[in-house]
């Protein structure tokens, strides 16, 4: 759809890459995503792959994505070299809502769910507001992708690893849960991205402590623009007009960011 040129495609930790794409991108809101066609000449894999925007290249000359190799598409992506053409489409989706005067904004990320927070964190800090990141990974190697976040001045970073090789041992929801009461005093908004089990827990803890919570969801996507109706998630909300019309929201076009209380977690 829209031609982009690979600026770089760096291995930053085993299995994790950061790819810069020179592209005449329209403005991007943190939390928005793009659809990338991994091999333009091939019909297999057929569908585009969604990736959150990690950062905007200097001078708004394009974007950067952070991705993990999990299957065929991402494997092919990892072989792209600077100068190669890439076919991308976007930015898509709603992105994280900017909350006025958040006190401290809290980001909770699980695994690859950290990707959309780099841009968000930079935005929040630029506005002169406070931000904290709770990040959960399997172990030290996965946690290494958070390195850049530590360089952001003013961002408080807390890490939990499942094997205890870095930060606290346990799940990110454990460290978030422990701090939630204290956070409730100074934070007013929580943004979360990661596996659905984690998101559900973050939404629950946030609600219990009176924190507003926004979750960014992931679903298999075919179109990315709300027309195939494939990426449905039960939102438990009705539209008002026409009885069951809004029972399903589309992650690509109504999301990927939803208020935590709108999601019917049992259905995920």
């Amino acid at each position: 759809m829209s031609e982009a040129v690979v600026a770089h495609n760096r291995l930053i930790a085993p299995g994790y890459y950061r790819m810069g794409l020179q592209w005449k991108s329209p403005g991007v809101t943190p939390g928005q995503f793009i659809m990338l066609r991994v091999s333009a000449d091939s019909l297999d894999p057929l569908l585009r792959r969604p990736f959150g925007v990690y950062d905007v290249l200097r001078g708004a000359k394009g974007i950067e994505i952070l991705y993990r190799v999990v299957g065929r598409g991402t494997k092919i992506m990892s072989t792209l070299r600077p100068g190669d053409m890439a076919d991308i489409f976007g930015p898509l989706g709603n992105g994280f809502p900017a909350v006025k005067d958040p006190g401290r904004a809290v980001m909770v990320a699980g695994g690859m769910g950290i990707a959309p927070f780099y841009m968000l964190a930079k935005d929040i800090l630029k506005r002169g507001e406070n931000a904290a990141l709770f990040y959960g990974a399997r172990g030290r190697t996965d946690a290494a992708i958070a390195t850049d976040f530590r360089k952001l001045k003013g961002l408080k970073v807390e890490v939990a690893t499942e094997d205890g090789s870095m930060g606290e041992k346990g799940l990110v929801t454990d460290i978030f849960g422990k701090k939630a009461v204290w956070l409730a005093g100074e934070a007013s908004v929580v943004y979360a991205c990661g596996p659905s089990g984690m998101l559900k827990e973050v939404a629950r803890i946030s609600k219990k402590n009176g924190l507003r919570c926004f979750v960014s969801l992931e679903r298999a996507m075919a179109c990315g623009i709300g027309v195939c109706l494939g990426c449905a998630v039960r939102t438990g909300k009705t539209a008002g007009k026409g009885t069951d019309r809004k029972k399903y929201g589309m992650v690509c076009s109504d999301g990927p960011v939803f208020p935590g209380e709108d999601i019917e977690w049992e259905s995920l």
Binding site: L46, R48, R219, A220, G224, L229, C231, A232, G242, D244
Partner: protein, 308 residues
């Protein structure tokens, strides 16, 4: 094959008063209500726009997961989620009809009566050029494919819709139907044209969890993987059909579309390819024009059924 030409004629007559500026339409369920594609292309260039299947009342569709990728294709089990015919007329049609492209309403019902009511509601609605009857959806428990594989049921639906509207009536067939006899049955019931094929029932299993990937276990296969099956269906239908045929299934390029036309189709519909590139149909139109110029084919209708 002839002398190269500078100008070619892409117009086709799909019968029953449906005249198209070119033979390329977008397929139902892959192009939303049309308006979603406005930012990505000039909707005025399309031969026709077929909108998402409409039912009498809004439908919420099937639980997720609803889609999964397969080799050169995808399975879907959307379950005909749609806003309902009233909301379509009120909210989508006013904008859609501003483009110089005929709008075809794809319709669905769980009973013959429901098909008839949706058709009646659309009849005489300014901006609707034709009705495409979906009797071939594999993803709903009632209606859909149960009508599309049974000759008598299929004929009942088409007869009822025919009586309810003066609009062009197009009937969409399943590859599971006995094609030749089904073509005759829906023709006798009064259809103006026949579109084929809808998706092919298929299934994918998550072997790690030993669970079906889709919530509904089975779904409909679409995309390049089904093209050979679809071309064969059109070719078979063409042997007996008296009404124009519209070929559907796995079209990505102009050459794919031409296979259908050469096999006997008057026009084509582009489905899954819209997900790879929202303006895929425009590429097909341009490529077709280019092919005709190169081969010295003045009118695209001369290619229909030109298989040597």
């Amino acid at each position: 094959m002839g002398i190269p030409l500078k100008k070619v004629d892409l117009r086709v007559d799909a019968g029953g008063g449906l005249k198209l500026k070119n033979p390329v339409m977008t397929a139902s369920g892959t192009f939303g209500y049309g308006v979603e594609f406005e930012p990505y292309m000039d909707l005025g260039r399309l031969g026709a726009i077929v909108v998402k299947g409409l039912s009498l009342l809004p439908r919420e569709g099937n639980p997720p997961p609803r889609t999964t990728e397969t080799p050169c294709g995808m399975l879907n089990a959307i379950g005909l989620q749609n806003i309902g015919v009233e909301a379509f007329i009120r909210e989508k049609l006013p904008r859609l009809k501003r483009f110089k492209t005929p709008v075809i309403a794809n319709i669905f019902g769980e009973t013959v009566g429901e098909y008839r009511e949706v058709a009646r509601r659309l009849d005489g609605e300014p901006g609707v050029a034709a009705i495409e009857i979906n009797i071939s959806c594999p993803n709903v428990k009632k209606g859909g494919l149960s009508f599309g594989t049974d000759l008598r049921e299929a004929a009942r639906v088409v007869t009822a819709v025919r009586k309810a509207t003066r609009l062009h009536v197009m009937t969409k067939l399943s590859p599971l139907a006995d094609i030749k006899v089904m073509v005759r049955a829906v023709e006798d019931a009064g259809t103006d044209s026949i579109s084929l094929i809808n998706t092919i029932p298929g299934m994918a299993i998550d072997v790690e969890r030993r669970r079906p990937v889709l919530s509904t276990v089975t779904g409909g296969l679409s995309g390049p993987a089904i093209r050979p099956v679809a071309v064969r269906c059109v070719w078979e239908a063409a042997k007996v059909a008296r009404v124009p045929l519209i070929g559907i299934g796995g079209i990505v390029t102009a050459s794919d579309a031409l296979e259908f036309i050469i096999a006997g189709a008057t026009a084509v519909q582009i489905g899954t390819a819209n997900f790879l590139d929202p303006s895929a149909s425009v590429g097909v139109i341009d490529g077709m024009e280019d092919y005709m110029k190169r081969h010295g084919v003045k009118k695209v209708k001369n290619l229909t059924g030109s298989l040597g």
